[in-house]
Amino acid sequence: MALTIKKVEDIALMARLNLKEEEKEDFAQQLSLILDYTNSLHNIDTDNVEPLIHILPIYNVFRDDVVSPSSPRDEILLNGPLLEDGQYKVPKIM
């Protein structure tokens, strides 16, 4: 089933991507192609199959409740594109 341009726009917004008009068409076509490709999965009956969420049978991996020093602030902020007063600065929310 082909994705509509509107659907691609919705997906792009959810994924926080801007698409140019021609990109929307390209992605609509490409994503539809891949989704069609995955349709073969529906040839298999999986009604009684449990999804495989974790490949290894590992449970209860914990760390102890022990504090260790956090990163030095100037170090962790080093990669910050825009800073003010030791905080990350972002444009308005709404």
Binding site: L3, V8, I11, A12, L13, M14, A15, R16, L17, N18, L19, F27, Q30, L31, L33, I34, L35, Y37, T38, N39, S40, L41, H42, I44, T46, V49, E50, P51, L52, I53, H54, I55, L56, I58, V61, R63, S71, E75, I76, L78, N79, G80, P81, L82, Y88, V90, P91, K92, I93, M94
Partner: protein
């Protein structure tokens, strides 16, 4: 033979016999890189100065204590390196300098290996040709007009071209094995959970696994001895005993039971590739192994399921690139939504966007059940297929890829064909198994790889079978011409 042509163990022998110095080794490798990397384009970042500094620091014998003292290695640019730019071959991380080393990197450093630089890859490890690097494509040393495979194409090309004896790569759907196959080198993907993923930039967390690309099986074993093992920082890293992998380097495989799946020797296979792998199976039979045909009935569904699960996880893993704490940022946006959208659109290439959008879609309400959940169920069936075979067999052999390396640009617009490269490698990641690709011949001057798959945590047997084949063949001794005459 030049020093740069030697493997780790050979270099180690020379160092032990004091025939060479660490400095000479590093200089030889750096010289080689300067000679050939203009053609191969394997490196994104070269850490020459530090490499030489480390070499100098190891000049006295007393300072040497480690398993790979003074031996050069390189990293796919997906491994975080403290103080050294780590880009994932993306504009998004073009200037990103981590403040931490990935666990695997720390372990190599602790054993006094010397990091030479960071290698090219498909952006965020999404791709099979290394053409999807945001910076430049890497070329196949066997034919510079062809791709080295991907996403760890920089690793495979650099190792094949003699720029570095070993490199760490990552493999989510074949990203170590496929380029190793295309470049005629050894590519080893351990079991999921065997090598810590901490500090390896995530693509698909349930399938990503770090591994080794080398020219020789023994070097894979040596590096595995260092990087394998439990890491408390990675909750999915298995707390399972690690063997001494070098102990499996023995050519006797008599009685070993090897299966080959019918399904991997039909559909759209390059005849030459198919015949070379069948020949390899005959070789194993000669060496005393028991060879039988089996079926992996759900194998054909691995790829479609992979293109749901991988992108789904990626859509979340790549959401952290939002322009707030690191990475590319649009400074012009006057609101957060625009900042997100502009930064991410400028920072990511088309394939990354495609997978993020695909993953976003298959997880969204109304689609989750039919896509994501369905794929996770199919994943269990694929795993069950393998479990079934391993009840009676030690190993499974397949071609690594259906074809040899293709021309640059040939599959750029046809991503479904490109995805098809991973048809034999993807099921292994879906089931979390260890697998290796080793050279098993040439077709039209291009290397062909054979994949050997083992049971979970049975890396040793995979290495053993690979080593036995290598010891009884000479393909690994043939070196690429880098566009000149074959030597």
């Amino acid at each position: 033979m030049e020093l740069y042509e030697l493997g780790l163990r050979d270099l180690q022998d020379k160092l032990n016999r004091e025939e060479v110095s660490i400095r000479e080794i590093i200089e030889s490798v750096l010289k080689r890189i300067h000679e050939v990397d203009d053609k191969v384009k394997a490196f994104i970042t070269l850490d020459e100065e530090n490499a030489l500094k480390k070499a100098a620091g190891l000049s006295s014998k007393e300072s040497r204590k480690g398993q790979i003292v003074g031996l050069p290695f390189a990293l796919k640019d997906v491994f975080c390196t403290r103080g050294l730019r780590t880009t994932c071959a993306s504009r998004m991380l073009e200037n990103y300098v981590p403040i931490y080393d990935a666990t695997a990197v720390s372990r190599l450093n602790a054993e006094q290996g010397i990091l030479i630089g960071k290698l090219n890859m498909d952006e965020f490890a999404m791709g099979s040709s290394t053409e999807l690097s945001a910076f430049f494509p890497t070329r196949n040393p066997w034919d510079l007009e062809r791709v080295p495979g991907g996403s760890s194409g920089g690793c495979a090309a650099a190792v094949a071209a003699g720029e570095v004896p070993v490199a760490l790569g990552s493999d989510t759907g074949g990203s170590i094995r496929q380029p190793a196959s295309f470049c005629g080198v050894v590519g080893f993907k351990p079991s999921y959970g065997r090598v810590s993923r901490w500090g390896v930039i995530a693509y698909s967390s349930s399938m990503d696994q770090a591994g080794v690309i080398a020219r020789k099986v023994e070097d894979c074993a040596l590096i595995m001895n260092i990087i394998a093992g439990h890491d408390p920082l990675d909750a999915t890293s298995a707390n399972v005993e690690v063997s001494d992998y070098t102990s499996f380097l023995q050519p006797n495989i008599r009685g070993m039971k090897i299966a080959y799946p019918t399904e991997c020797f039909q559909q759209g296979m390059d005849e030459a590739v198919k015949n070379l792998v069948l020949n390899a199976l005959k070789k194993y039979e000669e060496l005393g192994a028991i060879i039988e045909e089996v079926s992996l009935p759900h194998g054909e569904y691995a790829l479609p399921a992979y293109y749901i699960i991988g992108p789904a996880e990626a859509s979340a893993n790549l959401a952290c690139y939002d322009g707030v704490r690191f990475g590319l940022r649009d400074y012009e946006a006057d609101n957060v939504l625009d900042m997100y959208c502009n930064s991410r659109s400028a920072g990511f290439g088309d394939e990354v966007k495609r997978r993020i959008m695909l993953g976003t879609h298959v997880l969204s309400s109304g689609y989750y059940k039919n896509y994501y959940l369905k794929a996770m169920k199919v994943r269990r069936l694929i795993k069950n297929d393998f479990d079934q075979v391993f009840k009676n067999f030690d190993l499974i052999v397949t071609p690594t890829t259906p074809t040899t390396a293709f021309k640059l640009g040939a599959e750029l617009d046809d991503f479904l064909t490109l995805y098809g490269n991973d048809i034999f490698t993807v099921p292994v990641n879906m089931a979390g198994l260890p697998a290796i690709s080793i050279p098993c011949g040439f077709s039209d001057g291009l290397p062909v790889g054979m994949q050997i798959i083992g049971q979970t945590f049975d890396e040793g047997r995979v290495l053993k079978a690979a080593y036995a084949f290598e010891q009884n063949t000479t393909y690994h001794n043939i070196k690429p011409s880098l566009g000149g005459e074959q030597r």
